[in-house]
Subunit: 341 residues, 2 copies
Amino acid sequence: MSKATIKDVARVAGVSLKTVSRVINNEPTVKEATRKKVRAVIDDLKYQPDMSARNLRGNKSYAIGLVYDNPNPYYVVDVQEGVLKACREMGYSLQIHPCDAAHDGIVQELCDLVNNSRLAGLVIAPPVSENEAITNALAEHGIHFVRIISASEPPKGKAPCVYVNDRAAARSVAEHLIDHGHTRIAFLSGEEEHLSTPERRAGFKEALKAHGISVDDSLVLPGAYSFDSGFERATKLMERSDRPSAIFGCNDEIAAGALAAVKTSGLTVPGDVAIAGFENSPFSQHSRPPLTTAAQSIGEIARQAMMLLIAEMRPQALAEGEVQTTTAEFVPELIERPSTA
Amino acid sequence: MSKATIKDVARVAGVSLKTVSRVINNEPTVKEATRKKVRAVIDDLKYQPDMSARNLRGNKSYAIGLVYDNPNPYYVVDVQEGVLKACREMGYSLQIHPCDAAHDGIVQELCDLVNNSRLAGLVIAPPVSENEAITNALAEHGIHFVRIISASEPPKGKAPCVYVNDRAAARSVAEHLIDHGHTRIAFLSGEEEHLSTPERRAGFKEALKAHGISVDDSLVLPGAYSFDSGFERATKLMERSDRPSAIFGCNDEIAAGALAAVKTSGLTVPGDVAIAGFENSPFSQHSRPPLTTAAQSIGEIARQAMMLLIAEMRPQALAEGEVQTTTAEFVPELIERPSTA
DNA sequence: GGTCAACATGACAACGTTGACTATTCAGTC
DNA sequence: GACTGAATAGTCAACGTTGTCATGTTGACC
């Protein structure tokens, strides 16, 4: 009762193994009538090709790896679901690979992963995807991969890439604050190694400049993508006599920390200080008041990444008309909530 | 340069394919000298057996599936890492399978998963693992699996199981509150479908009784494992004239919501109301004040689950002396933080 | 009607591994 | 020295799929 093989399909449909194989793989040289007949049998028997056999036979593989090193589980889980969904649709299996981007042997580790697990390609999430030493090395080893990165324009280089325009989104958030009358706005950065930090900060500064507001560098503070880091920096800011009237956290965790700090200082949000975050994580939804933020549909981004990867690996697998691009842009969307009202 | 096969090893070592296979699989009928020689060549060539070929050949498979439906990404990511680590150690590959436990076709879905992906077995996390309709059906289909559940004693039935003694841990948390002089303690439940809810509540009640405190049922409130649900219930509690002096949230999200509610009501924590959570999630670490909670080492639990599963599937794979148990207990540990000081 | 190309299909081997079976070696025994 | 049985090693086929190459089938054109 368990396994229907290509053999069964061939027997029932009255054709050869190879013809079934051709139908499965969308090869063109099959008569339409035959194709239909075989498809019907496939549906009927609920046949699904066996990954192991496929991988074994060709040097082609139908497994892809998802590489990430992200401190934010919400992000990780969303990316996983998006990629997994796309994998299922396209008949691939998924191998997750959490790793340490700072680890010395990371390149070797990824090469071994691809070889040992016979992976067709990799989807690489930030921050690993933003480390050029790593991606260049992978490209040299002839490994197929697609990156998800933070950038304001298509990256050069031939490797496919999905880029999230954090800069444009950060501009929107900053403009939102400016529209509400704020001119002294603090910016709490994340780690500099994450491209999202300079990108979001650039968007912030661009918005100020566009509105003729000069940037006060003493309000642009380095730090980390964590609640504690946000709390600490905001606490210091609140002690200053020239404290800002608004705080823009480079992500929601920082903003949530800042929110806690402002309240701890006895000030109100948004009355005394407006606060905005980035990423639309539960931190922004669960704080009191909920935080204005920018949302990216991670699932859709992950899906798109998979599609680009497949296009690169097996161009023929895609339907005729589909566009052959190697990059895709996503712009997170401003979500207004009470923290800036 | 990429692939060393069993053939290469055999040639270099001057033995037959089969002998190498025997060495790899720890079969006993190989002379020690031969075994050593082959092992050396294997290391030398960095040979690693090909999963696809293995899976294809035997009906045995070296892939296991991780099934979960959990709204808490922190938990999911930790479980993934724990299981993945154990998989690597034991030479298995891992296939993640997020799913909807309430979905009608879930049993069929899991059976198909096992058949189509040729999985050797499943690691099932709560709450899917606690749905007996599902696990019984899987057992009937002859599918190997191990459950991670919440329970205060080894479950009956032959399927291997890792049980987390939430009841005992909840007793510790409640006793901690009692030790601090609280007698009117509210308990904010999670969803009743999650076994952890009745278990933790039972531990809470046991502690009260053990200290001669009668349970006030109007302080034991049903709800959901969410920030909002905690916020809502705590807000109502704070409006009561006979408000409790302490709140025990069934998890940290509930507790964090309660914390926000208490502060919103103009009361202080822990001054007016003490608050404790459960799970040691970042919610408990990031709130102000940080929350007293109970911590389980999810990674270790996941690892242990994998070991039990392997023991069930391939008893011979384990080293000689290793104990052959089918259940393992973990007791979360009390972590005292300022929210109850 | 015969020729040729284009299209459609099939036969067979091969991917890397292991199970079932067979062959060899080597003590120990009569 | 031939006979056992256990210990050790090898041969071969098979898992489900697809690439290569060969074959059959169609239709258009002279």
